[in-house]
Amino acid sequence: MSKIIKLKKGFDINLAGKAEKKISSSAHPDTFAIKPSDFIGMKRPKLLVNEGDNVKAGTPILTDKMQENVMYCSPVSGEIVEVKRGAKRKLLEIKILADKTIEFESFKTYSLSDINGLSRADAQAQMLKGGVWPNIIQRPYGIVANESDTPKAIHISTFDTHPLAANLAFTLQGAEEAFKSGISILKKFTDGKIHLNHDLNAEVASVFSNIDGVEHNKFSGPHPAGNVGVQIHHLDPINKGDIVWTLTPYAVAQIGKLFLQGKYDASRIIAVAGSEVKAPQYYKTYVGSAINKFVENNLNSDHVRFISGNVLTGERIEKDGYLGFYSNMLTVIPEGDHADFLGWIMPKKNVLSYHRAWGLFSFLNGKNKEYVLDTNTNGEDRAFVQTGVFEKVVPMDIYPTYLVKAIMSEDFDNMEALGIYEIIEEDLALCEFVDVSKHDIQHMVREGIELMQNG
């Protein structure tokens, strides 16, 4: 049974600088990077190439000693130009200088009908080798899926409600067939259902609607309605001992291409957005792309922050940095290291707050007002004081305040009882945004998850 679920709780952050729906082909980044830190839960990364080696798109570069069958592959063909290490020789970045035309490692190709007859073991072997496996994320914990698990269901959210987020259907254009075969492959991995979760308030793109044999659910409401974790909670919640897999639509299409075309296709359409971008729009590039070409002569000001991903869950990168493995967007917003005279009491225009203590007159701005927000914390760390706000931005039957407190006191029983298996960082990101006391909620969530994982 497909479900329609209307959510009320949450908060949409309407930022200026949304990407215009056109794909520019003017910027061609020449270097790409794989960052082991992108793969949460990767314990002991093992490098499979050396500086100076030539690789093809799909050549394994990295693996995790704890899960050695999963290959992390090069997104492009070219030369390994640098292996960047930090303190204690920690692997930070593997940089690849791309060829003008990309060459691919070749994998076995299948026709649409062949794919249906394929066994799980054969499909799995090709996926592990072909670089697409790290895109399968396991819940609980939000880590790369374990190949020996059989999930009770697979969930795919077809829309992203984060601020300035890329339109997922738009970034998948031309990948209808690949998406379809990706779903066929995934069906082999679960005895349960595959859920495709759509936006109730928009027309479902044909790439998603023409899929048979899956559940088509629809969600409405403010962010985080598009978060797959929230969707799982309402469709088929994760209990102790359950394993669920989640994928992005991009990952599904990539799996499809691996079987249809026999190659690891890491090309990706990304959004470059944010108030400081002159011409916010989409670009075609590859996973882990350097960002310098996108921002060259394309910024409104100099004092900015570059974010791999969105403003709620993303990571700050430098101007010569690289997008993360899972990021399909680059956000550029003003840096906020300014001190304001009596800033805590002076009336200000154009500030965004979930709390009406700030935004009492914000209804004058109207619903469609776009805000320019900078990175200022607007206050310092304090003890928990305000209550009842976290609960209003998390559309789940969960008490985030109590959960976070259980994490802080390392209380395993309560973490489990209060629902830590059902969330990852992004699900409580809004709590971190609205928190009066300015805690690093997402960081705490990950600490709690690691405690549960490692016992």
Partner: protein
């Protein structure tokens, strides 16, 4: 303002680790962040933008919401003085205001200075930032004491409230009891003669007119019912009419007399989302329900008092709006807030009517429910856990 900012930045190294005034770092920090909102930016990973609110602004909203009560209180202290001593009886007169200010402002000052000092000392010893929570407490305490209170008692009570009510638990956000109510309870039990009886009107050495008793509505109600004759409403008379009590033209604690002003404060708190409307509504609801139950029992005059009188008498309205809604000491779950408020209202009226020792119940009711709030939350959260467990076995 750049000049001021540069000046501060120049002095800053002296207050950093290793500097000359290292120990005063948090005092400096407090002043610096008071003058300039900090230039700190979000961390590398996680949320890159933050909501415009911070604790200072939240606390200031509460202080702003108390201003109507304060200003009304200042007028009323002068007004009550004039009534008791046979002076002019217009409420809004400069004379009233100046007289009131003469007695009220020193109390406000005493509370802020004493409490502020304790905050700074604790911040330096315990090496934590100075808590904004005191902005609110420092204003609450003057509003819940009689205008005749000696200043040293205000200072002592504030010190007790902040230290025992809050700092020994770890500061703002960690306290179990409402700080201002703790201070009030301290006064009540340590110096009962200065906070009960005929203390509610500042006579300032003038001779009262004949017939002045200094009684409050609650003490009249209580006395009438123990005497066992006549209805309380008629004993209250014109002076303590429903209207006068609602408006607040009666003697009492400085900021507590006017239900109207408390409701104005409630409006500010609820509109800004700082105070929980659920708690405010349920306190009033609880008081009314208990009043109605007593009406049904009807054993004496106080029990027969129409239930709605309880809502405008004494400090119920002020307590419901400013004391019960303190987010730290109240119940923290939304369901819990309903139960918490309802019980505060019911206990307030129960103590008023049945307990012979204390004419006012809101203080004890709030403190009592502060202690029980974690228990209420415990059961609400437990229900959530059970829902999760029940799901797992399906």
């Amino acid at each position: 303002m750049k000049f001021l900012h540069d000046l501060l930045q120049k002095q800053k190294p002296m207050f950093e680790k290793g500097g000359k005034f290292e120990k005063l770092h948090y005092l400096f920090e407090a002043n610096e962040t008071f003058l300039f909102s900090p230039a700190s930016t979000t961390k590398n990973k996680g949320v890159q933008i933050k909501d415009a609110i911070d604790l200072k602004r939240m606390m200031m909203t509460v202080v702003i919401a108390m201003i109507p009560c304060l200003i009304f209180g200042i007028f009323n202290v002068g007004y009550q003085h004039n009534i008791a001593t046979g002076g002019a009886t217009t409420f809004l007169s400069l004379d009233n205001f100046l007289f009131g200010a003469r007695w009220v402002l020193p109390i406000v000052l005493a509370s802020y200075v004493a409490g502020g000092l304790i905050e700074v000392v604790f911040a330096i010893i315990r090496k934590h930032p100075i808590n904004e929570g005191f902005l609110v407490t420092g204003m609450l305490i003057p509003l819940i004491v009689p205008p005749t209170i000696p200043l040293w008692q205000v200072a002592l009570a504030t010190v007790f409230g902040v230290m025992v009510g809050k700092e020994i638990f770890g500061g703002t956000g960690m306290n179990v009891l409402n700080v201002a109510m703790t201070a009030r309870a301290f006064l009540y039990f340590a110096y009962p003669s200065q906070i009960s009886g005929a203390v509610w009107t500042q006579l300032a050495d003038a001779t009262p007119v004949d017939g002045y008793t200094g009684a409050t509505a609650l003490s009249i109600a209580y006395d009438t019912s123990t005497a066992g004759s006549g209805s309380v409403v008629s004993a209250l008379g014109d002076f303590f009419s429903l209207n006068n009590m609602f408006m607040g033209f009666i003697p009492g604690s400085i900021g507590e007399t006017s239900t109207l002003m408390a409701l104005l404060g409630a409006l500010i708190l609820v509109l800004t989302g700082v105070g929980s409307w659920k708690i405010i509504v349920s306190v009033f609801g609880g008081a009314f329900i208990m009043g109605a139950i007593f009406n049904a029992v009807g054993l004496n005059g106080f029990m027969d008092l129409p239930a709605h009188y309880h809502l405008v008498m004494g400090g119920l309205a002020f307590g419901a709006v400013f004391m019960a809604t303190d987010p730290v000491s109240a119940a923290q779950t939304e369901t819990g807030k309903w139960i918490y408020g309802l019980l505060i209202g019911m206990f307030t009226v129960l103590i008023r009517v049945v307990n012979p020792a204390y004419p006012e119940g809101i203080m004890l009711a709030v403190l009592f429910m502060n202690v029980f709030a974690p228990l209420i939350d415990y059961y609400v959260v437990q229900a959530n856990k059970k829902r999760r467990l029940a799901r797992a076995t399906v």
